[in-house]
Assembly symmetry: C2
Homo-oligomer: 314 residues x 2
Amino acid sequence: MRVPILVYHERAADKYAAFLTAHGCTQVYTAANGEEARTRLAETPIEVIYGYGFPLDAIAASNTVRWVQLMSAGVDAVLRQGRLPSHITLTRMLDVFSRPMAEYAFAYLLHIEKEIDRLREQQVSNTWKSFRAGVLHDKTIGVAGLGSIGQDVVKKARAFDMTVYGMSRSGAQSATVDRHFTPDLWLDFVKELDYLVLTLPLTDKTRHAVNESVLGAMKRDAILVNVGRGALVDERALVSALRDRRLRAAALDVFEVEPLPSDSLLWTLSNAYVTPHMSGPTTVENAGQYFLDNLKRYEQGLQLPGVVDWETGY
Amino acid sequence: MRVPILVYHERAADKYAAFLTAHGCTQVYTAANGEEARTRLAETPIEVIYGYGFPLDAIAASNTVRWVQLMSAGVDAVLRQGRLPSHITLTRMLDVFSRPMAEYAFAYLLHIEKEIDRLREQQVSNTWKSFRAGVLHDKTIGVAGLGSIGQDVVKKARAFDMTVYGMSRSGAQSATVDRHFTPDLWLDFVKELDYLVLTLPLTDKTRHAVNESVLGAMKRDAILVNVGRGALVDERALVSALRDRRLRAAALDVFEVEPLPSDSLLWTLSNAYVTPHMSGPTTVENAGQYFLDNLKRYEQGLQLPGVVDWETGY
């Protein structure tokens, strides 16, 4: 494949580029920062950018770029920079992260229900003491965001014999859930939930969607899992709800500011499970294979999956 | 329902009896030990026994008992006592424990793969450090025992996009798995597995089925989950495999001797997860409802589910 490609990654551009070269791409360039990107785009007729994030303004140095493939499912950080001219297609990654992220959600729901921490403490103290652990079956889970990640959560929830509610803007996947809600009905959506899993994109409309009133409408023994974006949740309101036990627990892989500031109370709350944005890992292989598949479609003039809509913001 | 019923439970016979009375049974008696059971059976024309375990020899005091419903899925402890006359039906519980036990298996597989203990330690030390956690998808799971518990493990494994191998004596459910093995092929069964989940009954043929040579045939990074019976596994061989890291980890809810003796090395091995036989909890409600459903079938002369075969031992 002879299309000139610029691989953009602040730490590992060489590795991502090497994967492409090893799989038949003959014109692969790299950049690790905006300066290198601008220089390369000024010197070389780059047609495709494959990047983990990208400084959009650097594209002004090129009149050959036609397609930017991001190595992430979330594109809020890139979209905050502004907008690309309409002849350039911006795509995000679909499906690549769905399964590990859905696994993360169930890992924590099960961890909390089965009280594995308590069992581990019993083991350390040589204590044989049975108790009634919780179960997932017959509980109600709400999945906010029914894209590829949300759909995989729905699929697993079915296997755990749960009732499944879903929320999405478009309602395109509403047939896959028992009840579907649009974003104007957050309070109705959450009030019966035992578990709420956030897989939404971050946009102007979803920012702080889970605010004090939504948290207040949730059941006191509900569990929140956020694998979407930190700013979907009003973190101050969440800290307060967790501290006052108005919410049972939260498993959080994303935060309003990352890394999570060391003075955040989330670090210290025993019912907050803090993980360092790792539930949907990008690897050279999974991202690379996704990009190569798309590159073939691009070369054949086929429609690309994951084209970002600048209006909706994902 | 006017059938005379004896509820047998060493600690909570009254509670189990109260549930039956509240649901329309008019002749309900209780016994908490063999002596009480013998006395009651000598005095009252008991027709049905509903018990968590039962001293079979006490039935000699009665010539009216026709059916014994046990409150457990495993019946090895009762069968070890001997045999009932052929006009008395012995049934075990099916399905009641399947979902919590399958949840237990996935709780620990996910806990171990996602390294939740390590993440918890990072949180306690205020450390934001990403790493690549493991995934379940595309792994191979082996389910030994394809009864109602094993079938629920299979169902969930499908939702996690795993390859599923199964082992059973009869092969009746072999169509539900990708490859089926009979018990003469343990070494072939285990050698490709990433996870082995034991849901087998304990019989003369399954005792120590997972012995040193089976453990030796397993992959070094495989995980064992035992929710069946402790004696399915040669515990000495397991301790040695875990200690030498010839097996990655084991989540064990059942043991050769329960409570697990305080000097067992399993308590202290960091890659052994010891839980106090609680993965499939019997409750007054779930066991009671199961019994009532069966009692209706009994009164109507219908076939009962879970009839124990004295030859196969389950």
